[in-house]
């Protein structure tokens, strides 16, 4: 388990971490999610000891490591740009931590070969990093970090430099690996899809603070504020509320809308709007609308629903949402 308490880090006047407290359960795969510059890397690097905190402390499995150098924290760290040791072969890269620990040669060889098999780099032992693709390099970096049996595995946007297909493959693969190895893992990402896909817990960061922590479903379904809501998925503004586009229901008139809303037990505004465009996106249909007050928004319905209702451009409708929390802060969406 990792416990961060009141972590504070400033660069001059700029506050990168604003008294952040966070608990990361043992064995979990936790994502630190937030926009660029929100302090994710700073938090992760503080856990690793690559950054010194100005205040607060970090505990790993109960031990206060705040003033320990990275060497003594029992961590594995994976960098966005791999940080491969360019002058060493794949085998020597992965063996590095064990060689430093002066483990017997036979043990090192066995362990390295095992790990290379796990990460799917069997047979690449004698290649140099320059002879690997980005995805292979990152898997090598993962094997290298895992070789020293870290108590926690820290990954800073590990798939950020890879193309979309490789990225999706690798994160599934990481999830499976985590299910097998169970090492406490913290993954930094700015990609909400990635966080929702692999993590079992997500901490959303914004401007050096933690906005909300929870499992993916509760964060998506019950965001505590505008920021989390809009960062975790598409949003539409309906009256004074932010709602998910797929929660919007469109009726032909006010009375029907009101009765259906009451029947569903939903609350929130009924918004008169005009359909601007209907876009078919395979399984789903996106309907672009303009509300009476001029606000443009998007509703998303299933193809079956769209075919039943036959929405057409220029049509007047009344929109309401299946789910909307209390009216959220009126400030602009970040």
């Amino acid at each position: 388990m990792i416990t961060v308490t009141d972590a504070r880090k400033t660069y001059g006047d700029f506050v990168a971490l604003d008294d952040v407290s966070l608990e990361i359960p043992a064995g979990s795969l936790t994502a630190l999610l937030g926009p660029s510059g929100s302090g994710k890397s700073t938090l992760l690097r503080s856990i690793a000891g690559l950054e010194d905190l100005d205040g607060g402390n970090v505990r790993i499995d109960g031990e206060d490591v705040t003033h320990q150098p990275p060497q003594h924290r029992g961590i594995g760290f994976v960098f966005q740009h791999y940080a491969a040791f360019k002058h060493m072969t794949v085998r020597d890269n992965v063996a590095f931590g064990l060689t430093i620990r002066r483990r017997p040669k036979a043990e090192v060889a066995r362990k390295v070969d095992d790990l290379l098999e796990i990460v799917g780099l069997d047979g690449f032992q004698h290649r140099y990093p320059a002879q690997l693709s980005g995805g292979q390099r990152q898997r090598m970096a993962l094997a290298r970090a895992l070789a020293v049996d870290p108590q926690v595995l820290l990954l800073d946007e590990p798939f950020g430099a890879l193309d979309a297909k490789v990225r999706a493959d690798l994160r599934r693969w990481l999830r499976r690996l985590h299910d097998e190895v169970h090492v406490t893992t913290v993954l930094v990402t700015h990609d909400q899809e990635e966080a929702l896909d692999v993590a079992d817990r997500i901490a959303v960061l914004n401007k050096g603070r933690i906005e909300q922590v929870g499992d993916p479903v509760s964060l998506y379904e019950r965001p505590e504020n505008d920021f989390v809501m809009s960062f975790l998925g598409a949003v539409s503004r309906l009256g004074d509320r932010l709602v998910r586009p797929h929660d919007i229901v469109l009726e032909r008139d006010h009375a029907t809308a009101a009765s259906r809303q009451a029947a569903e037990g939903a609350v929130g505004p009924l918004v008169a709007a005009r359909v601007d465009r209907v876009v078919r996106l395979g399984f789903e249909v996106r309907i672009e609308l303009t509300a009476d007050d001029g606000e443009r928004f998007v509703a998303q319905v299933t193809r079956a629903e769209a075919e039943r209702r036959r929405y057409t451009a220029g049509e007047d409708v009344v929109a309401w949402a299946l789910r909307s929390e209390e009216p959220v802060g009126a400030g602009p969406v970040a």
Partner: protein, 269 residues
């Protein structure tokens, strides 16, 4: 705009004439004068006690200068690239100073510093170590003029490789020393090699600073460059000057060859 064929031809000819006139002709003249009378006289001329001593002294100075500059250069480059150095701009300027200052000025200032009546002039009286007009003076002068080479070759490489590999090594348990030997040094080795090659070439060829602080006795305190000079100016031994120059050139060529071979090895990896 496309240059016409005639213009291209003219430019090429000009470049060739320039190179030939400036480089090839003098070298050919020296070689021709040296070997014009056959190999025997050449060998005799470079085997005189004075010539052998000059060669040894030049190589000795190189052998002392290179390790000093490697250690100083690598430490300075790491300090500039990795640590928080106060007055970084001043340090950078000091490192570049030997590039800017004429070697003869270096020689003069060394005399003022270490010579009789200089700040450190007392050293000779108290310990008997002769700095000016002795080997230490020549070494100090050579170290000074070759100071920037290693720093200037290694520092940009350190910036280029960044700090992530070193941080990765730290997270894997490597101490600062282990990281230096296993990660940083292998990463900068080519920059360091170039720095050393340049240092060797310059140390062999240094004249202005060394002539000021050497007593200049043939067979005792003459380097190869001083030998060329004294044979020509003092002994009016033009042929001897040419043979010594050829020897010097041979050493430079060897250095260059070594660098080319290393370079080839690098690009083939």
């Amino acid at each position: 705009m496309r240059t016409s064929r005639r213009a291209t031809l003219a430019l090429r000819t000009l470049a060739l004439v320039y190179l030939v006139g400036l480089l090839a002709v003098p070298i050919v003249v020296i070689l021709w004068r040296t070997f014009g009378e056959g190999l025997g006289p050449f060998l005799a001329s470079v085997r005189t006690p004075a010539a052998v001593s000059a060669l040894n002294l030049s190589l000795l100075i190189v052998a002392i200068t290179v390790p000093l500059n490697v250690v100083f250069g690598v430490v300075t480059a790491i300090a500039l690239a990795r640590w928080r150095v106060p007055f970084r701009g001043v340090v950078q300027a000091v490192v570049d100073l030997p590039f800017a200052v004429s070697p003869i000025v270096v020689g003069v200032s060394l005399i003022m510093l270490w010579g009789v009546g200089g700040w450190f002039g007392g050293l000779e009286q108290s310990t008997g170590i002769k700095v000016i007009f002795g080997l230490p003076g020549m070494v100090i002068a050579t170290v000074f003029v070759t100071l920037p080479f290693v720093v200037r070759e290694v520092e940009p490489v350190l910036h280029e490789i960044g700090t992530e590999q070193e941080q990765a090594a730290a997270t894997l348990g490597a101490s600062g020393w282990q990281t230096f030997w296993r990660i940083t040094l292998p990463a900068i080795r080519w920059g360091l090699t170039y720095g050393v090659v340049l240092t060797v070439a310059r140390a062999l060829g240094e004249f202005g600073a060394v002539i000021m602080v050497s007593s200049g006795f043939p067979g005792v305190s003459q380097t190869l460059t001083l030998l060329v000079h004294s044979r020509y100016i003092d002994d009016h031994n033009t042929y001897g000057a040419y043979t010594a120059a050829t020897l010097l050139m041979g050493l430079a060529l060897l250095t260059l060859l070594g660098m080319t071979l290393l370079d080839r090895k690098r690009t083939h990896r």
